[in-house]
Subunit: 334 residues, 2 copies
């Protein structure tokens, strides 16, 4: 067990928990038997669902936590009253070095607030950011911030660039990830003051950990030419949700246009399309900038999606992401 990745799991967070959590762990264990899971939550309910399964019994330890954070609870209220919750205990287990990384499918806002309350930020970073995986024509890339920080300055965006590059290396083995700033045009004079200042800092930093490629526009995010896309949390959240809405709209309208026979004839290739763009594969947003990474699984994903977020945890710990972030940081004068 001592060589295994120790993951603190919120067994009660998200829809269909703890069943989907346990099924996700089983899928993960079959594929990579290199993790050990600390399951936080109602021990009676969890035990009942484990139901004597040997792989789970061998690779999990249950830690009783009776409190629960609701999905629709306000983050601040949840943080205030939730010290006995499975989510809080999960984050605390990192503080105590019991686990290497935390994973929850519960209330995102509460998870961010509790993580910030319990864990220290990495020295030199003021604001942690939420990063997500974004599909593109070649494979997938990283985008941050997705909503943790509504307002950001040039120091924050520079930190996001360094953290995003470290994440891209950790997850995709990119040696020198290409980093760009999301903007409304490609010319140096485009955008607001914060973007222009960040552009100058990154351009002049002569950083070797990643390649700064200037600005990128919204319609190029899926081209696959950039590995790490940097934006403030407001813009990132709007972009992510607009992309989700558009993808659903187009796919629905396209499918509606096909005859039943056509759908049948293309069954296997449409399955491939669905597999390629399966949102479960992109499951696992990563909260970066704290002394330990916190991974957020989508609340409505299933066991397969949850297994993908376990894989994100594995890769992050194996790649020593936190060390990478520390060594990548660029000093910005306040």
């Amino acid at each position: 067990m001592f060589n295994k990745v120790k993951i603190a799991v919120d067994a009660m967070g998200g829809e269909n928990s703890p069943k989907k959590i346990l099924d996700g762990i089983k899928i993960s264990l079959k594929k990579n038997n290199d993790c050990f899971f600390y399951l936080y939550g109602n021990s009676e309910i969890i035990s009942k669902h484990i139901n004597g399964d040997k792989s789970l019994l061998d690779n999990c330890e249950i830690i009783d936590a009776k409190g629960e954070i609701q999905d629709n609870e306000s983050p601040l209220k949840a943080a205030k009253r939730g010290k006995d919750s499975s989510m809080w205990k999960v984050i605390e287990s990192q503080k105590e070095n019991k686990s290497d990384i935390s994973l929850s499918a519960g209330n995102t806002g509460a998870l961010l607030v509790i993580s910030r309350l319990v864990l220290n930020t990495i020295k030199g970073i003021n604001k942690p950011a939420l990063a997500a995986l974004w599909p593109n024509n070649k494979d997938m890339n990283v985008v941050l911030d997705l909503g943790a920080n509504i307002e950001c300055d040039e120091k924050n965006l520079t930190d996001f660039a360094c953290m995003g590059a470290a994440l891209s290396k950790s997850l995709f083995n990119k040696n020198t990830p290409k980093v760009a700033l999301l903007n409304v045009g490609l010319e140096e004079i485009k955008g607001n003051d914060v973007l222009k200042k960040t552009f100058q800092i990154l351009k002049e930093s002569k950083v070797k950990d990643f390649e700064f490629c200037g600005y990128i526009e919204g319609n190029q995010m899926m081209d696959g030419n950039i590995d790490v896309i940097i934006t403030d949390g407001f813009t990132g959240n709007i972009a992510l949700k607009t992309a989700e809405g558009t993808a659903n709209f187009i796919a629905k309208n396209f499918k509606k246009s096909l005859s039943k026979l056509s759908l049948l004839l293309s069954y296997s290739s449409l399955k491939k399309f669905k597999e390629k763009l399966d949102p479960r594969k992109y499951n696992g947003a990563i909260f970066l900038g704290l002394e330990s990474a916190v991974v957020k699984s989508h609340g409505s994903t299933d066991a397969v999606g949850f297994a993908h977020s376990i894989d994100v945890c594995r890769k992050i710990v194996h790649a020593k992401l936190i060390e990478k972030i520390k060594s990548h940081l660029i000093t910005v004068d306040d």
Copy 2:
């Protein structure tokens, strides 16, 4: 001619001009013979392309303007040296009350800058905004600002709401358009200070010209429940381009997944899909807030797309959009 809508047209702007401009006018004249066109540009080239066509000769007047603004020219440079350009002359013709509305498929940035230099803003409006048509599950809606103003305050966003509502009434005959602010969540406490202040102003204004529906998130923009979506130009530009990129990405991947036989079998229904989402139908961004509206056609659209933007011009003039905007404005204390 005196009862006709008088449109000042930049005959030289955009790809394949003036051919596509003239072909677009011909399409429009066949459908609605209620416009007269002042064509600004190189008179020899335009005459050659008109080539004796009777419908064009009857409904157009050529005004020679030898200068041209290039598509890749910086807007400020173009405005500085472009006083003899077809684009400048088009805008000037509104100043002189020669025409009711202006239409160009040329350089967007230059068009915005020249329009602001030549035309006055409507009294009470500080910043004009660029509005576009956005497809949704029911029909289409209006989104603004799409990039004219990188930074906006609560007064600007409130003006955008009033102008957008007037546009929605003019184009879609909506009696009481539903208006919402684009944000990262639906709760009143979400978003930045400017959004929260705008929310309060619109909530308390008891306006009767439109219904204020609070916030909307990026993934709901295509649901078709909101007629007018308000955002600053930075966020709006990112959202628009992200939606474009996502739509292309999904449609391309989906189509690639279909067998040739399936595509053949569904030929006619796929044609319907393409027709429904044909970007030419959404062609025509509207620059709002000046004493006269300026319509921007996409530079790369064809004659059919250009005819759609003529239709936008017609509807705006018939509906007396500028009067509607004036009567809709909400006073915001500075």
